[in-house]
Amino acid sequence: MIELLGIEEKTYTLNLGPQHPSTHGVLRVILEMDGEFIIKAEPVIGYGHRGHEHMAENRNYMQFLPNLGRLDYLHALAYNQCYCMAVEKLLDITVPERAEFIRVMTSELNRITSHLLWFGAYLMDLGAFTPFLYCFDDREHVLDLLDRITGSRLTYCYYRFGGVPTDIDDDFLAGCRAFVSRLRSRWNDYHNLVTKNVIFIHRTRDVGIITRDQCVKYGITGPNLRGSGIPYDIRKSEPYSAYPWFDFEIPVGTKGDIYDRYVVRLAEMEQSLRIIEQACNKIPDGPIMAEKVPKRIKPPEGEVYQAVETARGSFGMYIVSQGDVKPYRIKLRTPSFANMSFFPEMAVDTLVADLVANLGSIDVVIPEIDR
């Protein structure tokens, strides 16, 4: 019709961000639009670039530790853990069992806070406000628990090379048990309010599908990958820390749409609760710090790669040491960067409303992309 009338079909550019309510930080997306349909989406990243990798080259090993909490501020402890494990590998230190248990417990608690925040923020993207405050209420309990032993509520810097600096006490264990039963009693509310909601199902079913091939092609990891039906989780496939001693499952989806990713994240929280519960019962006594940790961290020459499963996927760290007090080079493989790279393909031929739904569903943390 348009061609018949001799009218030129025109597209226009819409600039979404860097300050937009639903880009979750400073992400900018340049959209080429035809009406409400997106023809091309081009993410512009780097507004929060701080040069973490370069900072690492100019600091000694201990000084770089706080930087890790600023990469993915939502699951900071997994990043801490990855770095500590990598340096421990370089130094050839064995971490005491109790310390490994504490690391797993705190990291899993942190994973739950991350997923809870995603849950709330995502529903807010879809226009529902109330779930946000529900899960912030739950999240508050975890933050209080972690606050007591780590000293901070968001950008944690808790693990040390060789173990953890402060021990947990019975209050913490009791708090963990109370939280486990509290969150379990809340699942019903969440499912009634969100999972079974017709509008929610319509917004998320068959929207933003990521196929298995696309996952492999783009290196997508984490719940996004598992939502597409590939049961890959570093905690199982390359078990580290205390994870081999726990009994937990890897929830997977079938279709790879937003709904599947949502279900996977919710199921993952339940699995984390299981790990915490087992850890509370099985935690051994003993030291929390390895004995032969040198005062001055100066690893021998060598290279090491360590990967962990964070709330967003596989985070890997490659450290090259030349026998100095500073690392020669650190390369960070961050999950959101890989997940985000699929976003332009995902956004084509969708509506603006779906763009927001898709962007939220892959759960990106911008500082980790910009680093």
């Binding site: 409400e36 993207d125 226009g127 529902a128 405050l133 409303a353």
Partner: protein
Amino acid sequence: MELVAQFLGSAGARMVVGLIGVIALVSVNALFLIWMERKVAAHMQLRPGPMEVGPHGAIQTVADAIKLMGKELITPEKVDKPVFWLAPIVIFLPVLLSFLVIPFSQTMIIQDMNVGIVLILAFATLSVLAILMAGWASNNKYAVFGAIRSVAQNVAYEIPLLVTVMSIIIMVGSFKLSDIVAAQDRYWFVLVQPVAFILYLICATAETNRAPFDLPEAESELVAGFHTEYTGMRFALFFLAEYTNMFIAAAVATVLFLGGWHGPFFPGVIWFLLKVYAVIFLLMWFRWTFPRVRFDQLITFAWKILIPLAFVNLLITAFVLKLR
């Protein structure tokens, strides 16, 4: 003295007193509704809401209104100035006029026109024009988006709304709101027209741009939709109009389905306001429970489900009336 008495008894005086009353009601109502919305939302979200200004934050909205009045009215550089200035007024006037025909009680009605319901529906449509003006004049892509969405949405939802209202009107045989209420002295129409009531509520939510149909101002997508560029009192007028529209939608629901001023013990006006605020509470409940629908789903829902249902309901009503 006689002249004064004559004047007070006349229709003109009734109009003047009525209009002053309406303006007072509109402002007080909006202040109350905003407070109520915040309190309802807060209690649904396990928090107390405003608590600081006045008992339980009762005059928080008064403080907010004063703050808004003190704000600078920013007119962005490349806006279409006359239209940009006019839009908040255009959205507010029809809202005021709709109050002319609402029967608060048997006697409390400013002008009992014989086309009352038509007048309200006609003025309700005018708000779309204002939204379109605001969005178009703002020279902002998000605002235009909001405006376009608003027009499409209102056109789609007006049809089932009118058809639904029609089924009540053929039962009563009058457009006069007081007649419609008077016809419900034995039973409320919600009992015989439950489908129509649900249809009306859905359409009214969409017409007043409330969640889950708040697409013209969907903040996670469109920042603030059509009023992105408005500040201060101009923004406040849009806000005021939204809440007053809600009141009108609830008042029409009360008149058509919930028996208007009818009720035991209390005077009619109290019953009327009670029912209105109950309906408003329902609308708030929707907003704080549901996620937002997507635009294509919204339009599909209107054209494929609501409109056929409304027509079927109208046909059945007509058929039953004919048989009786």
